[in-house]
Symmetry: C2
Subunit: 143 residues, 2 copies
Amino acid sequence: MNALLLENQVCFAVHAASRALDGFYRRQLAELGLTYPQYLVMLVLWEREPVTVKELGVALRLDSGTLSPLLKRLEAAGLVRRERNASDERSVVVRLTEAGTELRQSALRVPEHVANATGMHLSELADLHRTLGRMTQALTEAT
Amino acid sequence: MNALLLENQVCFAVHAASRALDGFYRRQLAELGLTYPQYLVMLVLWEREPVTVKELGVALRLDSGTLSPLLKRLEAAGLVRRERNASDERSVVVRLTEAGTELRQSALRVPEHVANATGMHLSELADLHRTLGRMTQALTEAT
DNA sequence: TGTAATTCAATTGTGCACAATTAAGTTGCC
DNA sequence: GGCAACTTAATTGTGCACAATTGAATTACA
């Protein structure tokens, strides 16, 4: 077996799956006016608002180079507000606007659509979730 | 269970795994002077050269908007040559240079390093590969 | 108290991804 | 032969990802 064969590389399978998922979300989220990474940010906000940019970065493993312009676009779309923390001027707190809060209702049906589109059983998805989590953890810690 | 909880979403697990893998490859491939997508293109070329841009797009599921600038960077790095097909001027054929061919030797050890870094057994990786392939297929076909 | 180290966000620059469009070339069909 | 339909790359524009740097603010501590 040739180690360099594209078909043999799990890396490519992960990469391709990620893009396929991204593409599916793009179609689903178009009517909400969100991209996939913007949707991920909104998920965190719907869970526990307000959050700082720092906290968003930890939750999503993204840095400010990605988050700053993304949050500006969400702000321009009227879904979030950003304000400096009065007690620590270094940190920026992100809050939902009313429109941002309301968007949650429209987003509720998305996960089910995606789960259906994968053609997999919930138990398989749970397995996959667990396996990928373990792999991500190991890769993050590896040199 | 809250369907919109970030932790419950397989989508995020796939997304995060893809980026973790990308990051690990970035470190591994830095000394070869390749990015991860460039490495994927080189894998195809090492397998079956020459190939057209079209064929690369099919193999990697990427369009010319991604491939054209990427191939120009590989050409600027002296790893590939691009030339129009004489019999069909629409198609561009990509070939390895000598340096591009030789780079394969240095790339041979990369897959093993990655496999180790995932902390998973080969059988688990094979399972994961199969599962993701199935999911990607289903998502691509879904509306 | 004053300074060094740290924290946090923003910015800059490079590269990937994809939609939409453009342009050139080929093929099919009358 | 001539025109319509199709194929193939390239380009343009938008957005994500991350490294490196900058700058402001806070904290630690000598």
